[in-house]
């Protein structure tokens, strides 16, 4: 057989892969003896005969589509996944161990760094847990500010999810639109707490800072423009043939399976289980806000996309209500045993100075007890389980990471699907390795 030089030529630009005569448009051309390009013989087998053997392939840990350092060992039969073994832990930093050696307020910076797309939401969740442990009732203004923080962070996280997932599946434009909007939210956060990604926005008993004057105007401006971007993304993706073809029917989890695997967030709601911590086990007075919980029907990647898109719209609704009801008054509680005095007082009055010294050096002490506080993070049910023995440092600080539990179902989801679909399914889980490995 003469060695032919082959090259692939795109015959016609068509997304369907079939031209008007019903022939496939992507015909590889080969050069014949005279050097003329001719269509390749369809009988020519390019792939080596693998007999019936399965092939093992590694995705990650350094692979852009694994969203961090996830390693998936896949056993393939042809292109079909037979078995999937995930390996995690490449980012393990021992957050829980470190937390046992830190005062409660000192743990809050660590919560930024687990699910770093939702850092301000983690701050709020941790503060809620610590306040339960301390038996603190926070002020009304603080509650509304925290609702604003949590919903903004949900929007950020879903924006990053939609952007990166669309890149994984092959759409670049939504990524740019989403990151433009994300930039707007980060500018708002920067104006509020001074930091963009690692916010450390809360303290036990309050917030690090009240919102500055005029900040609400920036937020309402964002709330006015943001739904337009959502509609544009909706128009470009929801009825897009490629998007639909690459997401529908993939990684299906039934309602029973999703519940039994402990999935949460958009993962369980796409499967038709209307479990939302904000509705079922409310916190921060979420029961007084008027919002809907989108629920899917099929439990596939496409439904997860629809659910997350709708959740962003609902977040906008919640933010509008929160802005309308934002009360005046103090943000922090008035308890010198827990909250640092203002700097001016600490430098001028002996009593405040003593409080300041004690709080910084020894830290606030909760009574003996334990609590589990869960919030609806963008990834799912994020919980903090804290055990106190009466000292200023927790005996145990346990993070219930939603993406960890969601990811544990990936072998079940990818089995029987094609290798290319593993990327889409993995993207639909919305994992953050910082949170999974902790």
């Amino acid at each position: 057989m003469m060695a032919t030089k082959k090259r692939t030529v795109e015959v016609e630009l068509s997304t369907s892969g079939i031209d008007s005569q019903g022939r496939p448009t992507r015909v590889p051309l080969v050069v014949d003896e005279q050097g003329r390009p001719v269509p390749m013989e369809p009988t020519l087998t390019l792939e080596p005969d693998m007999k019936d053997e399965h092939m093992l392939i590694n995705i990650g840990p350094q692979h852009p589509a694994t969203h961090g350092v996830l390693r998936l060992v896949l056993e393939l039969d042809g292109e079909t996944v037979v078995r999937c073994v995930p390996h995690i832990g490449y980012l393990h930093c021992g957050f829980e161990k470190i937390g046992e050696y830190r005062q409660y307020n000192q743990i809050i910076p660590w919560t930024d760094r687990e699910d770093y797309l939702n850092s301000i939401g983690n701050n709020v969740a941790f503060a809620l847990g610590a306040e339960r442990l301390f038996g603190i009732e926070i002020t009304e203004r603080c509650k509304v500010l925290r609702v604003i923080a949590m919903e903004l962070s949900r929007i950020i996280s879903h924006l990053v999810w939609a952007g990166t997932t669309s890149i994984d599946i092959g759409a670049f434009t939504p990524f740019l639109w989403m990151f433009q909007e994300r930039e707007n939210v980060y500018n708002l956060l920067e104006g509020w707490v001074g930091a963009r990604l690692t916010t450390t926005a809360t303290r036990v008993g309050g917030m690090a800072a009240d919102i500055p004057a005029g900040w609400t105007d920036g937020l309402s401006n964002f709330l006015r423009t943001f739904p337009r971007t959502l509609d544009e993304v909706d128009r470009i993706l929801t009825r897009n043939a490629i998007w639909v073809g690459r997401t529908v029917g993939l990684g299906v989890m039934t309602a029973e399976e999703a519940t039994n695997h402990g999935l949460s967030g958009a993962m369980i709601r796409a499967s038709g289980v209307d479990y939302d911590v904000r509705k079922d086990f409310p916190y921060l007075d979420y029961e007084t806000y008027d919002f809907d919980v989108p629920v899917g029907t099929a439990g596939d990647v496409y439904d997860r996309y629809l659910v997350r898109l709708e959740e962003m719209r609902q977040s906008v609704r919640i933010l509008e209500q929160a802005l309308a009801r934002l009360p005046d008054g103090p943000v922090n509680i008035d308890d010198p045993r827990v909250i640092l005095p203002p700097k001016s007082k600490a430098m001028s009055g002996i009593e405040s100075m003593i409080h300041h010294f004690k709080l910084v050096m020894e830290g606030p002490r909760p009574p003996v007890g334990e609590c589990y506080v869960a919030v609806e993070s963008p990834k799912g049910e994020k919980g903090y389980y804290m055990v106190s023995d009466g000292t200023s440092k927790p005996v145990r600080w346990r993070i219930r990471p939603p993406s960890f539990v969601n990811l544990s179902a990936i072998p079940r989801m990818v089995e029987g699907h094609l290798l290319a679909d593993v990327i889409a399914i993995n993207a639909s889980i919305d994992i953050v390795m910082g949170e999974i490995d902790r």
Binding site: G135, E137, R239, P282, D292, G383, V395, V405
Partner: protein
């Protein structure tokens, strides 16, 4: 503006009682989860103690009967604890206190939250039965618990380390006798890492690409051996 989204919104079935955010919760006492009494009635001596702390009911159970209790909670229609939230363990700074296993369960139909605990004495082997047969979500959570605390779960299908690497020899990081910085100094850890041969730890199965060459068809093998780069 057309809204294409097809996700049904607000398809939550209306329920009688709207749950409310907890307020003014006492540290100890308060309303108890009704499942605690049901467990006592069903299992008797297996439940030695029930606590309510910050409004959350903790049921202490006998460590040897965990699977029975969990299975009953999951299957009984009056309980329906269909959702496993978390599995973890607690070791106290007081070294005399036993290690506690903690299971957090939710009943989505009844909107209940229950914490199960089992005590394990440190001088006994740390073994407890896996609840993986009831909740598939327990797989990784139990593996993490084994990884961090060294608690063995009987009946778990694949109990390996998950966050630490397979041949991690320093022990169990979240145990209180484990120093914060690990058992070896930074320089020792570095020299160990440099001396390690990471490829030796992979199973040959995972490295089978090395042998795959031999399995290729003869003509492909010939071509590749002749210097042709694959993928050109």
């Amino acid at each position: 503006m057309t809204n294409f989204s097809a996700a049904p919104v607000g398809s939550r079935a209306p329920r009688d009682v709207v749950p409310a955010s907890p307020r003014d919760v006492p540290r100890l006492g308060g309303p108890q989860n009704p499942s605690a009494d049901a467990l006592r009635e069903q299992f008797g001596d297996v439940v030695p103690r029930v606590d309510v702390c910050w409004g959350e009911t903790t049921v202490l159970i006998d460590a040897t009967r965990v699977l029975d209790v969990v299975r009953w909670l999951h299957d009984d229609e009056g309980q329906s604890y269909d959702y496993l939230v978390d599995i973890t363990a607690v070791e106290y700074r007081d070294m005399e206190r036993p290690i506690e296993m903690v299971w957090h369960l939710r009943s989505l139909p009844y909107r209940r939250f229950l914490r199960l605990k089992a005590e394990m004495q440190k001088d006994q082997p740390l073994v407890v039965s896996s609840i993986w047969p009831v909740y598939k979500g327990a797989d990784w959570l139990e593996r993490e618990c084994w990884d961090m605390f060294g608690i063995r779960f009987e009946g778990h299908p694949d109990l390996r380390r998950i966050l630490m690497w397979e041949d991690y020899k320093e022990g169990f990081p979240l145990r209180k006798d484990f120093p914060l910085r690990g058992r070896f100094s930074r320089s020792e850890q570095l020299s160990q890492a440099l001396a390690a041969n990471p490829e030796a730890r992979y199973s040959m199965e995972e490295l089978s690409i090395v042998d795959a060459f031999q399995d290729l068809p003869a003509d492909v093998r010939e071509r590749l051996a002749g210097g042709e780069q694959p993928g050109e």
